[in-house]
């Protein structure tokens, strides 16, 4: 069976959920080969094996991680050349898409970004994308070169399948031209103890309607084991960090359950949450556009509704 390369998304060796999803999708197309860039393979090995990686290419060199994007694209191009995979799957985050874009040009290959699903087809992988703020789905396929596909988080439920996870050290050569944009400082995000926003099964978001008090939003999120998100209005007001912004210029989330509180539902916000399975809103204005999207809505003051709901959830769980 031909190989399918999966670029591993990890933080210091801790493999992110998207990687398990990509490995699961890769198995539909061929034999998953994980591509691990970094020095912390010891922390990642078990997870890669557990989700079915048949091979693991280990690329460990500071040249690959000390500069932005370009060295990783070069290394992947060399792997594609050496291994002739059936496809390359890359996580759809900012860096992943940039790596994919450069890889497409380097290898004269077609690129599909932001896939939300993937199937094997007669002429290679067939992708599904969600476009125009989620109002259309598009199916597409690559007709030249090695299909390079970036996949969004939560595209599939990861399936644990034991893989051989045969390790191979791959020595990539990084050109001087690739070492021009240097990462001079890297500050990891502070841990909140909550699930990662893009990976969470439940997201509770707050907007301008919080009036700057996110405590009821956070407490409700914690009662449900959810991640916390924010609208741009809340972020621009300095109430919540930008890394939690949901929407066109923030994160795209696609959880099982999205709860928008004090958020009107502007198109740019919808762009980041519209593909959520179940949508709930709490808003004091019954005319708010967010109610057009909801499965369940409460017209009311979030400062009254959320604390009560938090208590009720805790009572049920107790």
């Amino acid at each position: 069976m031909t190989e399918v390369l999966v670029l591993v998304d990890h933080v210091d060796g801790s493999v992110r959920k998207t990687t398990a999803e990509l490995l699961t999708l890769a198995r539909r197309l061929g034999a998953p080969s994980a591509v691990f860039i970094g020095s912390e393979i010891d922390g990642a090995r078990d997870a890669l094996k557990q989700y079915g990686a048949e091979k693991v290419y280990v690329l460990d060199s500071s040249d690959l991680t000390d500069y932005l994007v370009v060295p990783k694209a070069e290394a992947l191009a060399q792997l594609v050349e050496a291994k002739q995979p059936a496809a390359v799957l890359i996580p759809s985050n900012a860096e992943g898409k940039e790596i994919a874009g450069r890889l497409a040009i380097k290898t004269d290959s077609g690129l599909i970004t932001d896939a939300v699903d993937l199937q094997a087809g007669d002429t290679g992988p067939i992708t599904t994308q969600s476009v125009f703020a989620g109002s259309f789905t598009v199916t597409a396929h690559v007709i030249q070169g090695t299909p390079i596909i970036t996949v969004k988080p939560n595209a599939v439920t990861p399936e644990a399948v034991d893989g051989a996870a045969v390790e191979e050290v791959f020595e990539a050569t990084v050109s001087d031209a690739a070492k021009t944009a240097k990462v001079t400082e890297r500050k990891p995000r502070e841990a909140t103890g909550r699930p990662e926003l893009t990976e969470a099964a439940i997201v509770v978001s707050g907007g301008r309607g919080t009036g700057g008090n996110f405590a009821p939003v956070e407490d409700f999120a914690d009662s449900l084991g959810a991640a916390v998100g924010a609208s741009r209005a809340a972020v621009d007001s300095g109430w919540y960090p930008h890394s939690y912004q949901v929407g066109q210029t923030g994160k795209t989330v696609s959880p099982q359950l999205y709860i928008a509180t004090g958020i009107s539902g502007a198109i740019q916000h919808r762009a980041g949450m519209q593909t959520s399975k179940t949508i709930v809103a709490v808003n004091k204005d019954e005319e708010a556009p967010i109610f057009e999207l909801v499965d369940f809505g409460v017209v009311g003051d979030l400062h009254a509704v959320l604390p009560k709901a938090t208590e009720a959830v805790k009572a049920r769980k107790a």
Binding site: L111, I143, I267, K308
Partner: protein
């Protein structure tokens, strides 16, 4: 110093968007605008020009149909100096790979010290054209900048990644893309609007750039759209009014019924 800013003309995000029978994005019958996210790139260029001690020229570049001139005009009204509009029948339906090819060829004629882009186009929103452009132009890429500092030829930016905030440093000539966190785009002033009318806009065809029609457009795409479907509208949900504190109980009842608790 010379700064080239790549801007895209897109259908207004607040208008309905759809597909044409040929599977390309329908831009007809929808008002177009300068992609809002490219306003941040124009603004950043103007700020860099204002802070520079030498004569700095800001050139706006767009690839798109006749109407795309409106995106250049808006940028000139904001204060840019000149425009380049690549337009050609053959361009219709170009994907990011072809668009970056055209932009790269047009930029190569400019001898730019800085190439500026937005973080994503509001219609396609692939966020890949800047990286592809840097690849084609062999320029250092400093992308998704949420804060930009320029000192001489050194450009330092803050990039908010998924897992970490990074500081990135590179030396011009380079390609820079900025996010909507980077600045606050200005509105054109009356003076700016009047002045824009006299600013030069050069029009170029594919042939002027030494490219063949077969290298661009829908037929040159390395991907094919097999089909598209309007998502079924979400079925109308239940909306209750919180009277006497009943809203919370009903909400939790719903969540429990859906097995979220």
């Amino acid at each position: 110093m010379k700064i080239v800013v790549c801007v895209k003309y897109v259908p207004d995000a607040t208008a309905e968007r759809t597909f044409s029978p040929d599977n390309t994005v329908d831009r007809v019958g929808v008002d177009g605008v300068l992609s809002e996210l490219d306003e941040y790139a124009v603004e950043e260029a103007l700020k860099i020009r204002e802070a520079a001690d030498d004569d700095t020229e800001v050139v706006i570049m767009t690839v798109g149909p006749d109407e795309a001139r409106a995106a250049i005009l808006k940028s000139l009204q904001m204060g840019a100096d000149a425009g380049v509009h690549v337009k050609d029948e053959a361009i219709h339906g170009s994907d990011a790979i072809a668009t970056s090819l055209i932009l790269a060829a047009a930029i190569q004629k400019q001898n730019a010290d800085l190439v500026l882009c937005g973080m994503a186009s509001t219609d396609g929103s692939m966020s890949v054209v800047p990286a592809m452009l840097a690849e084609r132009l062999s320029l250092p890429q400093v992308t998704f900048a949420s804060e930009v500092t320029v000192e001489g030829t050194t450009v330092r930016v803050r990039r908010d990644g998924d897992a970490a905030t990074e500081t990135i440093e590179a030396t011009a000539p380079l390609l820079l893309s900025v996010t909507d966190q980077s600045n606050e785009p200005r509105y054109p002033s009356f003076k700016g609007i009047m002045a824009a009318k006299k600013k030069p806009v050069e029009e170029l065809t594919i042939a002027d750039l030494g490219l063949e029609a077969s290298q661009v457009g829908a037929d040159a795409a390395w991907t094919r759209v097999a089909g598209f479907e309007a998502r079924p509208p979400r079925s109308a949900g239940t909306v209750v009014t919180d009277e006497g504190g009943t809203g919370a109980a009903q909400l939790v009842e719903f969540l429990a019924g859906q097995k979220f608790i």
